[in-house]
Symmetry: C2
Subunit: 349 residues, 2 copies
Amino acid sequence: MSSSQPAETRTQGRGGQTATLAEIAREAGVSAPTVSKVLNGRADVAPATRSRVEQLLRDHGYRRRRAEATRSPLIDLVFHELESAWAMEVIRGVENVARDAGLSVVLSESAGRLTPGRTWADQVAARRPYGVILVLSGLDEAGRALLTSRSIPFVVMDPAGDPGTDVPSIGATNWQGGLAATRHLIELGHTRIGAISGPTQMMCSRARVDGYRAALETAGLPVDPALILTGDFHHEAGYRQGLALLRREDRPTAVFAGNDLQALGCYEAARELGLRIPEDVSVVGFDDLPVARWVGPPLTTVRQPLTEMAEAAAKLVLDLAKGADQTATRVELATSLVVRSSTAAPAGV
Amino acid sequence: MSSSQPAETRTQGRGGQTATLAEIAREAGVSAPTVSKVLNGRADVAPATRSRVEQLLRDHGYRRRRAEATRSPLIDLVFHELESAWAMEVIRGVENVARDAGLSVVLSESAGRLTPGRTWADQVAARRPYGVILVLSGLDEAGRALLTSRSIPFVVMDPAGDPGTDVPSIGATNWQGGLAATRHLIELGHTRIGAISGPTQMMCSRARVDGYRAALETAGLPVDPALILTGDFHHEAGYRQGLALLRREDRPTAVFAGNDLQALGCYEAARELGLRIPEDVSVVGFDDLPVARWVGPPLTTVRQPLTEMAEAAAKLVLDLAKGADQTATRVELATSLVVRSSTAAPAGV
């Protein structure tokens, strides 16, 4: 149900049943203030009681009326990991929107787990932000139920997995980007093009490599599975898989590196093997981080408008906090190829 | 006075006078709850009343007892600007300590102003974090008084200006780093060495260039003021000032670039002028960002332990929140020279 019905006290559950806070308290065999404490993330509730109340809130699809909830002037921003150089671009976008709205940003990291831990969700419930933005990170069903019951809206940016059709999300046109990067190499005359994918459990990685395949296939070129390796979006993986591709006897003349950090890893692999970029091997990245312009040679890459995507995610979550309808919002911002000096025709063409 | 006296109700002011909340209310001609509202950063106080109460809190050196203050499980982290690539290293260090302590990090940006605005300080007072870490950013006297009166401790990391002897701060041995970078170049045989300083209002910039000067002087080499230019720690400034240095007829054979981003700007300037690194010009950075290892050639630089510095700042602020004595804590973590491939003997040596 939409959050645009702030006057609704009785809320519609999954099975069509409705429940007030008092009814949930009665069913749980606790007092109404105890249910309130759970909703407010207070620590002074026994774990067994808490989990019984949470289960009932979830079963009844309970949703707190916004009038009951006093919000803190905060937006929660959760990263899968803070390692990535592009986290900064995202933080900047969210900060821009938050500052204009008089809000502060709470930053956290789901630290290698693809779903933030239960402790995190409790903390969010206790601090009651305007909304939550999850970057490359999903929420398990308990986490979703917990935020929903507190009327805390959430948006997923560039989802790692399938966020579900009813979760608002912001992405980029990853498939189109992979297609454009590979077509650029084909137009230069390359026919053996390697690819280094990001982690395969991330939808964005899959979409980029699918775009790469589509470009080869529509150009009538064979897709050689031996030339498609998998990395983890970090420099080290680009270096390792770059070495693996470039050490082959039938080495590719060009590499679509999956992202900029992996492209820089490829640069290092090429240097180590005494191969010149772009004379001996062309390299294309994905993201267009600031560093792409600074390296030698400057990197041809697919620009992903990370700051704009983060701004869009922050605006969407604030709209949802104001009661906008959240049914199945999925926004994809356009990627664009930025041609610099790391790509050229292969030798002999 | 130290914050290790939690039982103290009457607090010692500048002139030795003491005042309770009730006395401040009486002097301001308002009720005690109104003073409480001001202390809690509540919005429902007339601006004139608020500023009269703040002035009295400040004049009396009022400090809230910790027992009165219910803290939120937050640490505030304030950047001068989020542009810098090294902001991520700092965020990671603070996150590490915050996570272990069960706290979340609120991120903000003083956005070009060297002192965070009044609105920011009010927001901090209202959310009552365990403490505040200011990065390359100071606090004006009103901001300091505001945090002190709420017993919210703060630590300055790598101060932009003189933080004052009574402000706890964490830095790196910038002077030693500038000295080591320049001595390395002198030992390779360079005698004409240019320098690109960071912004001169930042103490860390001054210390690095002073270390550079000391290395030249102790080696008996002349200091040529025409070879010392000023940037702003960004890539663009390194490029512009790199061009200015390398276009000179008597161009230096080596450049101490002030930080890594300015060093990368120098790389671009050298490429544009057809100069090879390190054959025609040696370049040394400062920071040792991840990118320093990835560029071609890998950059010789002075490593600043940013993540460890941020961890130290976070631990210090939590110690202060627990009541540790905060008199004149200044910690400097050691820098170290990391020699890679961007430095070599000058041609003909």
